[in-house]
């Protein structure tokens, strides 16, 4: 089952866990499983139209799924989804 790494800002919504596991064969399904287990995450992860919140970045292992196939990106049982807030980069 894929693992999801939870950023500090989202941990209060998952009972303080740093990482959780969730079923699913693509990013959409894995996040749906997360929301089903922890409903408080839904409003943070998704906008009203069901798309990823623009300030949420989801990585398949270390690659941003937005420049892969978005929520349709396939996820394997050994993969890790990393959720990170979109923050200003240094410069």
């Amino acid at each position: 089952m894929p693992t999801i790494k939870i950023p500090p800002v989202l941990r209060p919504s998952v009972g303080g866990e740093r990482e959780v596991t969730a079923e699913g064969e693509n990013v959409r399904a894995v996040l749906a499983s997360l929301v089903a287990a922890h409903p408080a995450t839904e409003s943070q992860l998704f906008s009203a139209d069901g798309q990823l919140n623009r300030y949420v970045n989801v990585y398949l292992n270390d690659e941003d799924v937005r420049v892969l196939d978005g929520l349709d990106t396939a996820v394997g049982a050994q993969d890790v989804l990393v959720i990170l807030p979109a923050m200003a980069g240094g410069s």
């Binding site: 300030y55 941003d64 980069g89 410069s91």
Partner: protein, 323 residues
């Protein structure tokens, strides 16, 4: 014995002053990092700019753009949020051009960045380190809104930032290489990736892959109250990117050392991260040129021990803002 053909230019050019000498940086092949004979990795040494970073191009472009538009004149106070390099570049230019400069910078950057800013005469306004660059942007926007004396170039939203690369860096690369399979740069404001990416795609088409390497911010600098407090620089167009890959601080430092040990490139920590991604992309290709940006030199990170201590012994690995 016949004369060996000169492949490099005999000198870096002749310029009227140091500002004019910004850019025209060397493109150096890194043979040790190349995973196979048909794939060549090239480092564009932006560390060779006058203040030691790629941001000299951006600072010059933004100030000259503002001057051309009549938005600033000598004496005008310039205000800018920065984690260091843009501030240092602006400080050099502002000192030469006669603009007082205030920079808003997180308080968890290396001490050298603070010293360089002071050296060039900039005033530093500290923002909360736990908020990373987000905190600096937020505070600078508040200050600019509250005081009309300030002119803020705002590198995160200023098209003169990517234009410095569209009209500069990318053309220099195309002048040296007939083909580029992949271009890799760090994702901060997005200026380097957008400017180079647009020009390279226009000239080479979709055969060139534009790849972003970004820092995986350590947990101590993810000080957001909510995900809605996130930030995406207005100049970024994600559709231009083919890949976007994060690198941990630890891996970035390991590869910064690798650049030094194997290729003699003394670069900053973000360049280590970018080199790591460049080598990975190179490993996925059968042939072609992979170009990556060495964003700054290593001098401004010396006090952190990244070049001399084992990675395990580097203090504040996750709470320092390395990029």
């Amino acid at each position: 014995m016949g004369a060996r053909e000169l492949e490099n230019r005999p000198c870096g050019g002749r310029y009227a002053d140091v500002v004019q000498s910004i850019g025209n940086t060397p493109l150096v092949e890194l043979r040790q990092l190349s995973p196979k004979p048909g794939v060549r990795i090239w480092a564009k040494l932006e560390s060779r700019n006058p203040t030691g970073s790629v941001k000299d191009r951006v600072a010059r472009s933004m100030l000259e753009d503002a001057e051309e538009k009549g938005a600033i004149a000598p004496g005008q106070v310039i205000l800018e949020p920065t984690s260091g390099n843009t501030g240092i570049s602006l400080a050099m230019l502002c000192k030469l051009k006669g603009y007082p400069l205030k920079v808003v910078m997180p308080d968890n950057v290396t001490v050298e960045r603070t010293q360089l800013l002071q050296m060039w005469g900039a005033e530093i306004i500290s923002s909360e380190g736990a908020k990373g660059s987000n905190g600096a942007v937020e505070l600078a926007l508040e200050l600019a809104a509250a005081d009309s004396r300030y002119y803020m170039p705002y590198q995160y939203g200023n098209e003169a930032n990517p234009r410095a690369h569209y009209d500069g860096t990318a053309l220099e690369i195309l002048e040296e290489l007939d083909s580029v399979a992949a271009f890799v740069a760090g994702l901060g404001t997005g200026g380097t990736l957008m400017g180079n990416g647009r020009r390279l795609k226009e000239v080479l088409g979709d055969s060139v892959k534009i790849v972003a390497a970004e820092p995986m911010q350590g947990e101590p600098v993810q000080g957001l109250r909510s995900l809605d407090d996130g930030f995406i620089p207005p100049i970024i167009d994600l559709s231009l990117l083919d890949r976007k890959i994060f690198v941990t601080n630890r891996d970035a430092i390991v590869w910064t050392r690798k650049l030094l040990d194997e290729e003699g490139i003394f670069a900053g920590v973000s360049s280590g991260a970018i080199a790591r991604v460049a080598a990975r992309i190179a490993g996925e290709l059968d042939e072609g040129n992979v170009v990556f940006i060495v964003a700054d030199d290593g001098w401004r990170y010396l006090s952190s021990g990244v070049y001399t201590r084992p990675v395990e012994e580097i203090e504040n690995l996750d709470s320092t803002l390395w990029w």
